[in-house]
């Protein structure tokens, strides 16, 4: 599958609008330090997951194509969930910069659907490719972090989050079909 597909897939699955709406804020803007820490931990985790993807699949006795089917099913389920609930409820937070780990990295940024896609892309395309694709939602959430929360922006981002949820369903179906058809 092409880089364009994976770029689109990571955008839909990571869903930077949903990320933005769930970040702990000071007033109307996200707190920059926890976000930076959270993104740093996310990228480090993505490197580990993508690099270890082949080994993990070997250990599980699962082929990359079969895992792609599983990833597609998870993504379809998550996409449907996001369509119904486009905004997370506010999570409890550790204090200070530790908020970058909980809740920013986990559970906000690092979701089950992102994990399965990271592993699938890592197994199929390698670490570098995976990181370039992940860079797109990461860049998007950095841009969105300068957007003040207001009733209007919240409504728009909620709608866009729902839209990306729908697109995630499409991505999931494409992953399932690809996993079924590929050798």
């Amino acid at each position: 599958m092409s880089f364009a597909f994976y770029a689109f897939a990571f955008l839909a699955v990571a869903n930077p609008f949903r990320w933005r709406l769930s970040l702990p804020e000071d007033g109307e803007l996200p707190r920059p330090q926890p976000l930076a820490i959270g993104l740093g931990v996310l990228i480090a985790t993505a490197v580990i997951v993508a690099a270890a993807a082949d080994s993990i699949l070997d250990w599980l006795d699962v082929s990359a194509e079969t895992w792609r089917i599983a990833a597609g099913i998870v993504v379809v389920g998550a996409g449907l969930w996001v369509m119904a609930f486009p905004q997370r409820r506010q999570e409890a937070s550790l204090r200070g910069s530790a908020a970058g780990v909980v809740p920013v990295f986990f559970p906000v940024l690092f979701s089950p659907e992102l994990f399965v896609v990271l592993k699938s892309t890592g197994a199929d395309e390698g670490v570098g490719f995976t990181l370039w694709a992940l860079a797109i939602p990461v860049a998007a959430v950095v841009l969105l972090s300068s957007l003040r929360r207001s009733p209007t922006s919240e409504t728009v981002m909620t709608g866009l989050s729902r839209l990306l949820g729908a697109l995630a369903v499409v991505v999931g179906i494409a992953l399932i079909i690809s996993g079924i058809r590929d050798v």
Binding site: L60, V62, T66, A70
Partner: protein
């Protein structure tokens, strides 16, 4: 904090367990050697050979739990099993030529003039296209295995019959009607077209001066473009005979459209083999994956994949699939060698001779269970003989 993390972690753990059990059970692929795979094919060939009766027909099947041999028979399965015995001979197991010739007696006793040529038709039945496609394939394989030209005339006559069943769009009618002495209109066989297609490609290889190539290519396009729609399949049919035919045609005769069809077929065979490797037939796995599939079905996927793997060796448009094909084929061979009934297991049956060398699906084994897997295992041997 615990209140925050526990629900999320519980979701990850439960979700992970669900995915593992229901979506990605382990793909279990026992490792086998070429020697073991060859022996499995020979043992299954012996099952077929032991079952040849006085009239040349094979023992059709065996239900081990009630010690029953069914009375039915099938012409296409007869010629396919005969073909398999000649394939064993071609692979170096020369004694199977005699067994194949024993089975050939039944064919020679049931020939009719049809379509300007000759066809095999049991008793008073209409002449079936598929059985004759496989008859052509069997005789061509016998010719390659023995160098004996005795049946060249019959091959050419059967080829005439096959071509006479072809329609303008490349489709092939499944039966020749004895009463009207013409092809039976609007009847198609789910496997028959692919069987005839492959037969024509092998006849072209034997007799390049005769015109079997054009009809074969016409049917190749029909299979790729129109067959599933015209013949009412809801999805593209994973036709291993078509895979054989395309591999026989080779890259020079296959344009990008036909190669795209070959790639689609490889995908079907791959998912079939991967799902099979996930089946244990026990516990929760039985609920989510069902019983291990009929050996004939698994064998067809192995045959089809092996044929396309041969094609991929010569056609760069399929090279990217080759590693995946090899993984699937090694896995296929491992599964089938491990699941074959050996002498010790067969000794516990009422009829050990109908158990040893066979593959069973829920206590029943049929001649095509052995036939397809012999063909597939023989086709995988060159891969297994390479270093993994």
């Amino acid at each position: 904090m615990r209140r925050l993390l526990v629900p999320h972690l519980a979701l990850w753990i439960a979700g992970g367990a669900l995915i593992r059990v229901a979506i990605v059970p382990p793909e279990v692929c026992p490792v086998v050697t070429a020697i073991e795979a060859r022996q499995a094919a020979v043992d299954a060939g012996d099952w077929l050979a032991r079952g040849i009766q006085d009239d040349g027909r094979f023992t059709y099947g065996y239900r081990r739990n009630i010690d029953q041999v069914p009375g039915e028979y099938n012409a296409a399965r007869h010629t396919a099993a005969m073909l398999t015995l000649y394939q064993l001979a071609e692979a170096g197991e020369r004694r199977f030529v005699d067994d194949g010739d024993e089975a050939l007696r039944y064919v020679l006793a049931n020939l009719v003039a049809a379509g300007g040529g000759t066809a095999f038709a049991e008793g008073t039945a209409d002449a079936p296209l598929g059985a004759n496609g496989l008859l052509a394939a069997a005789l061509a394989t016998r010719r390659d295995a023995t160098g004996d030209p005795s049946f060249d005339g019959l091959m050419i006559d059967v080829g005439r019959f096959l071509v006479s069943q072809q329609q303008e769009n490349g489709s092939m009618l499944a039966f020749w009607d004895r009463q009207t002495e013409a092809p039976l209109p609007d009847t198609y066989g789910i496997f028959a077209t692919g069987e005839a297609f492959w037969g024509l490609t092998l006849l072209d290889a034997q007799f390049p001066h005769l015109d079997y190539l054009d009809p074969a290519v016409a049917t190749a396009y029909y299979l790729a473009r129109d067959r599933d729609r015209i013949e009412g399949q809801i999805s593209r049919y994973p036709d291993h005979w078509a895979a054989y035919g395309m591999a026989q045609l080779g890259r020079d005769k296959l344009d990008d459209e036909l190669i795209a069809n070959a790639r689609r077929l490889a995908g079907f065979f791959s998912i079939r083999l991967r799902v099979e490797s996930q089946r244990t037939g026990e516990g929760v796995n039985l609920l989510v994956r069902g019983w291990p599939g009929p050996p004939s079905g698994v064998g067809t996927a192995g045959e089809g994949m092996a044929a396309l793997w041969r094609l991929s060796a010569t056609d760069a448009r399929m090279t990217d699939m080759r590693a995946g094909m090899e993984d699937d084929l090694r896995c296929y061979a491992g599964m089938m060698v491990a699941s074959q009934v050996d002498a010790a297991q067969a000794a516990t049956y009422d009829r050990p001779d109908l158990g040893e060398g066979a593959w069973f699906y829920r206590d029943y084994s049929q001649m095509d269970d052995q036939q397809h897997n012999i063909s597939a295992l023989l086709a995988v041997l060159p891969l297994l003989e390479e270093a993994p």
